[in-house]
Amino acid sequence: MLFAAEETAEHAVEAAGWFLENSWLIPLIPGIAFFVILLFGKRLPKGGSEVGIASMTASLVIAAGAAFQWIDRVDSSHGEHVGPVIRQWTWWQSGGTKFGIGQHIDGLAVMALLLVTFISTLVQIYSTEYVKGDRRYTHYFASITLFSAGMLTMVLAPNMVQLILGWEIMGLCSFLLIGHWWEERANSEAALKAFWTVRVGDIGLLVGTAMLLGIFGTLDIKGINEGAAAGDFGAQSTLMWAAVALFIACIGKSGQFPLHTWLPDAMAGPTPVSSLLHSSTMVVAGVFLVARLYPVFHVGLEINAVGQTFNLIAVIGGITLIVAAALAFVQNDIKKVLAYSTVSQLGYMMMGLGVGAWTASVFHIFTHAFFKCALFLVAGSISYTASHHSFDMKKDMGGIWKKMPITFGVWMVSTAALAGIPFFSGFFSKDEIIDSAKHADYTIFYIVGIVGAFMTTAYMTRATYLTFFGAPRGGAAHFMGVEQPDNEAHDDAAHDDHGDHGDDHDAHGQDDHAPVPGRSFPFAPFDSPWKITAPLLILGTLAVGSGYLNAPALGIHWFEHQTESSIGLPIAEGHGEEAADLAHAGEGDEEAGTAAEGEDEAEHAAAEGESADSAIFTVPEAPEFKWSAAAPGLLLVLAGFLTSLFLSFAVFGKRKSALTPLVGLTQRSKPVGAVHKFLVNKLYLDHLYEKIIFRGVAYPISKAAYWFNQKVIDGVVDGAGRSGKRTGEWVYRNIDQRLVDGAVNASGMVASETGHALQPVQSGKVNQYGALLFGAAAVAAIVLILLNV
């Protein structure tokens, strides 16, 4: 039944170019590679990693080809609408409903494909060094390849079923990879937590998908988007609830506010996994889903409607962005700082989508992937080379910038991109989100955005200071060949928190404290091996360069031009708050039922924007960039940098200053300590989930279940057993002993007696036998005669 050879949707395929037509190969190749690695990996000379890298490279080549052909397709369209290239085959069918599998490739998908394949390739190259000698080296590469395949499947999904398929493959692989070193309990718990937290959200995905099928009668993404954009649905509220359900899935997957707690714990996995998971796959999936089904969310939640000051997506995004940034301040683990930073940036993306800044958000996915991947790989490089596999910034780092120039340089560039310093990539995407929020009259979110920018700069400055500057401590001091500032036995203390990250697991098959094989002790004076630094350099370059694909500050709108057809909604042209407002006025009125006025206004709006002729819903055009508009944000970024730098020097620095008394303030001052504790405990959300929700819900349930088990089920079972025993005894006594045995004995007796009675007949004399024979024959003859007469 699989892959019935009929092709259901052939339209728009013609003359799209080979790579675009065959981009379904992109997820297929790593998918097959997964099985190859799993089955034959251990016998291969490089443990299966070569298969993984080769498959990712092949996918990358096809993705790059598809990207070029897509650009060509857009450029040759001369302003007309560029349709996606959709191909579907029937995967299975149930009661006449066919479920397809195939591809839906457009600007958004091309962007994501390129991103995922590119970063996966680099991460796999990096991993060959990082997890070298690991006991589950082959499984690691199998999982990570399937992980990429899952994301690619989701990105290419032409319908919701394939989307869910890819989505769940990723969930499974994140579980496998986070729990890669499952021998330590903390790691396996983190893996379970990630899996179950995401599963909570997945219920929303299933419910939302079912609702979409109910509303639009199709699972095809194209059909759903067109239906939503054309207003072809029953009631607004139904669509809203579908959007809410789908958004719950995104909250779980993308680590948005109430369900973000799994993401920092996911640091238990190997660093390359964190890097992949936090940049281009997994967490981006939620944002991607919103971007993919944007008409559903935009129309369902009435984004950009007149007078709307907030909506679900923007609120969740805004809360996430502030909360996660606040949490990043109190982390000592460099990977956790980065994890919260990812959560915070995902909050930006969601907020951007929530205020109608589709292009800016998608572009932020693009730029963020490069610099966040780079940051994580830098953290891995430091722990690999400098800090004895520790990630503790306070105990095992500091002052290492001198010896690791490449690592340090990439970190600085990526940090600048993350903080949104002008002319680094993050600036172009993040600033546009903030600018759009202001432009679309979401003033609250504008303020949230610039405050978030301030906080981002501040916590990254703190992390940078602790990691690279100041006096070397612990593992770093060892690495630098410096006497430790104090004579504590840091080497032992530094490894207390193995459970937090687990990267210092005995992956290298020897003691943590021994030098890495092939590297003399004290370590070689310079940076990590080339397999680690090469991906870092490439990503660092892109952390700067990727921003120039869509730099409004420089008047570049290339990226927007390539992807705008994927929004699914026309862009309100002609500078238009008015156009957008009018368009949504039309929507509002239509909902109210007074069609005439609404249509009138909608027509008016349509007249203003040419491409929006029949569209009811539009997204606002990206605002025109003005330095004056960006200035407040930039000033806050600068302020954040200076404040944090000053505080870092004062608090963590060697020299005594007026602020030195602040050191240890959290221990001494109760109110400050309370805030610190509140943040360290992640707002007590884990407590809420584990202690209150689990205890409050699961314990009574289990208690009731226990009672039910003991009293009812056991009672029934016991009763059944007892009555069964009694019945058995009665049956034994009466039926078995008397009836059955009686019958057997009686028949035996009868046979015996008959035998004795007939014994004389067997005289042994032939004559007598003959007499009997003829006598019987005579009797029979007489009977025969009597009967016949």
């Binding site: 007949v761 042994g764 003829f774």
Partner: protein
């Protein structure tokens, strides 16, 4: 020609045979009596074959003769063995198989 003549002769032979089987103690005589019975049957078969003008009865009688010859062969062999072992062919003494 009436079948009754043949049948009467046949019945007489049969009765003599049966009497011989039951009453004689000599094993050889019992065997001979059995031959009488078989021949009475043959007579019946041929009689009915003649009346019905059918060849089947004749053929059947030939078979019976052949089987009777074989039977006598086996029977006489047995009698010979019994005589060798017991120096007697009286059937009265051969009652080891009694129940």
């Amino acid at each position: 020609m009436y079948a009754v003549n043949f049948l009467l002769l046949s019945a007489a032979l049969f009765s003599i045979g049966v009497f011989g089987v039951i009453a004689r103690r000599n094993a050889v005589m019992v065997l001979m009596s059995i031959e009488l019975i078989l021949n009475s049957v043959n007579l019946n078969l041929i009689a009915f074959a003649l009346i019905n003008n059918d060849i089947d009865g004749h053929i059947f009688a030939l078979f019976v003769i052949a089987i009777a010859a074989a039977e006598v062969g086996v029977g006489l062999a047995m009698v010979l063995m019994i005589y060798r072992n017991r120096r007697s062919i009286a059937l009265d003494g051969l009652s080891e198989m009694h129940g």
